[in-house]
Amino acid sequence: MREVTVRVNGAPRTGSVEARKTLADFLRDDLDLTGTHIGCEHGVCGACTVIVDGRAVRSCLMLAVQAAGSEITTIEGLATAQPQPTSPDRPPGAGLGTLQQAMWDSHSFQCGFCTPGFVMQATAYLDAHPDAGEQEIREALSGNICRCTGYQSIIDGVLLAAQRSREA
C-alpha cells in the first residue's frame, strides 16, 4: 500500500492504495467522487475522462500512484464555476458552468452515464480550441461513446457553449 496525495478540484486529497489501483477507482472509491463513471475499463469509451494537469485523460488508463502531485479536475469540480442567472422556470441552486448550462439548454443527454466524460473532454477541448467548428468538435469527441443520443444534441451543446463564450 502506498500513500498518494493529489490535488483534486483544488483541494489536496490523500489516500492509501495498492499500486494497481486505477485513478478512476481511486477517485470513485477512495475519494467518494462518483461523478467520474466507468464504462469499459480498457480505454475506449471515455466515460472516465478527467482533466490531469490541464489535459483530458482516461482515468481508467492511469494508476492512482501516477497521479501523485498532479492537479486533477473532475466533473464535480466544474459545478461551482461561474453560477448562471436563474430564470423563472429553472430549478434554483444549480451553479452550472457555461458548458453545462449550454448542454442543459440543448437537451444534450438522456441517461447521463456518458455525461461526465463528455463534459470533461469537451471542457479540455474548448479551452484549447475555443473557435472549433462542428466537424472538429465531432472528431474531438469521437473518443467518447454515447448510446442514447446519436450525438447531435451533445454537439449542439458544445457549439452553443463555444458561441456563448465568444460572446461573453
Binding site: R2, E18, A19, R20, K21, T22, D25, E41, H42, G43, G46, T49, V52, R55, A56, V57, R58, C60, L61, M62, L63, V65, Q66, Q121, A124, Y125, E139, A140, S142, G143
Partner: protein
C-alpha cells in the same frame, strides 16, 4: 472477464541509472510503464501479468525534441500530444506529424508516448510504420551501456522488439526531411481514431520532377510493419503519374499475406493496401509540391 489489474509490485525510479538497475534486477519479470495506454488495458484484462512495473514517467531526461545535424532526436517519454503540437516536429519530421493525429483520441495522446508506442510495437499502430519508413534509429540503454538499433532490426514480431529485457528505449532518432520531400499517412479504420485495418506511411522526395527517394511502410498487414521495398525501387528515378502509382501498388502488395480477423479477410487487406498505395503516393506527391 476481468477488468481490475492483477497484483503487481511497483517501482518509480527518478533517474535513468535507477531505472536500468531495476531492469537488470528484474529482467523479463518486469514491464516498463510509459504512457500506459497500451499496457494498462492489457493488465486490466489480465492478459499481461508482469511481476513488477517500472514506471519511467519520472525520468524527465527522456523528454524532449532536439535537432542536430539533420537528425531529430525525440526522447522516449515525449508525450504524443507534445510531439503533435511541436513546430519542430512539423517542420523536420512531417511524416510523424501527419501520423500523430491519427493515434487514438486526444485523451490517449495526453499520456501516450513516442517511445512507449514504438516499444509496444503493435503492427497496426501508426508510429511503427513511420519509424520503419524513415529508417529511424532506436537508442536503448542498460547498465551495460547504450545500443543504437536501426528500425529494420527493431521490429521482430507481434508486440516483440529487439529490446532486451534489461534495456529501456531512451530515444528515437529520425532523419530530418530534406528539400522536395512530401509525405502522407493514410489509413483505413472502422472509425475515426481506431487502429488501422491497413495504414500506410509514405515519403516521396522529388528533384526536378523525378522521384529521388520513395519510402512506403504498411501498418496492419503483418505481425510487424512492412517496408514495400520492391515498390520503392520501382518508383525511384520515375516521374509521378497515376499509372506509375498503380503499378507501384501492384508491386507493393504482391508479396503481402495479411492476417484475417473480424475486420476483414487477408484478400480484403491486400485490396485496401493497394488502394492506399495509389492514394498515398498521390497525396505525398501533392504534398511535395505544396512544401516546395
Amino acid at each position: 472477464m476481468p477488468v481490475k489489474l492483477p497484483y503487481v509490485e511497483y517501482e518509480a525510479p527518478t533517474t535513468m541509472a535507477e531505472a536500468v538497475d531495476l531492469l537488470a534486477e528484474h529482467q523479463d519479470e518486469a514491464s516498463v510503464l510509459a504512457g500506459g495506454q497500451s499496457l494498462i488495458p492489457l493488465m486490466a484484462l489480465r492478459l499481461a501479468r508482469p511481476a513488477v512495473l517500472i514506471d519511467i514517467n519520472g525520468l524527465s531526461e527522456l523528454v524532449g525534441v532536439s535537432v542536430t545535424d539533420g537528425t531529430v532526436a525525440i526522447g522516449a517519454m515525449t508525450r504524443e500530444y507534445v510531439a503533435e503540437d511541436s513546430a519542430t516536429v512539423g517542420d523536420t519530421v512531417p511524416l510523424l506529424a501527419a501520423a500523430l493525429p491519427l493515434i487514438g483520441h486526444d485523451a490517449i495522446r495526453s499520456r501516450g508516448t513516442i517511445g512507449g508506442s514504438l516499444a509496444h510495437a503493435d503492427p497496426a499502430a501508426e508510429l511503427p510504420a513511420v519509424a520503419l519508413a524513415l529508417d529511424a534509429e532506436f537508442v536503448v540503454r542498460s547498465r551495460a551501456g547504450e545500443r543504437v538499433i536501426p528500425a529494420a532490426d527493431w521490429f521482430e514480431g507481434y508486440l516483440a522488439t529487439s529490446r532486451r529485457p534489461d534495456e529501456i528505449l531512451a530515444e528515437v532518432r529520425f532523419p530530418a526531411a530534406g528539400p522536395g520531400t512530401g509525405v502522407a499517412f493514410l489509413e483505413v479504420a472502422r472509425r475515426h481514431g481506431d487502429f488501422a485495418i491497413v495504414g500506410l506511411a509514405v515519403s516521396l522526395t522529388l528533384a526536378d520532377g523525378v522521384i529521388s527517394d520513395a519510402r512506403l511502410a504498411f501498418a496492419g498487414v503483418s505481425d510487424v510493419p512492412i517496408r514495400a521495398a520492391a515498390a520503392e525501387d520501382f518508383l525511384s528515378g520515375e516521374r509521378p503519374s497515376a499509372e506509375l502509382f498503380a503499378e507501384a501498388a501492384r508491386r507493393a502488395t504482391a508479396g503481402l499475406d495479411p492476417p484475417a480477423d473480424l475486420n476483414g479477410s487477408s484478400e480484403y487487406r491486400k485490396q485496401v493496401a493497394a488502394t492506399l498505395v495509389r492514394r498515398g503516393l498521390q497525396a505525398a506527391a501533392d504534398n511535395a509540391y505544396e512544401r516546395q
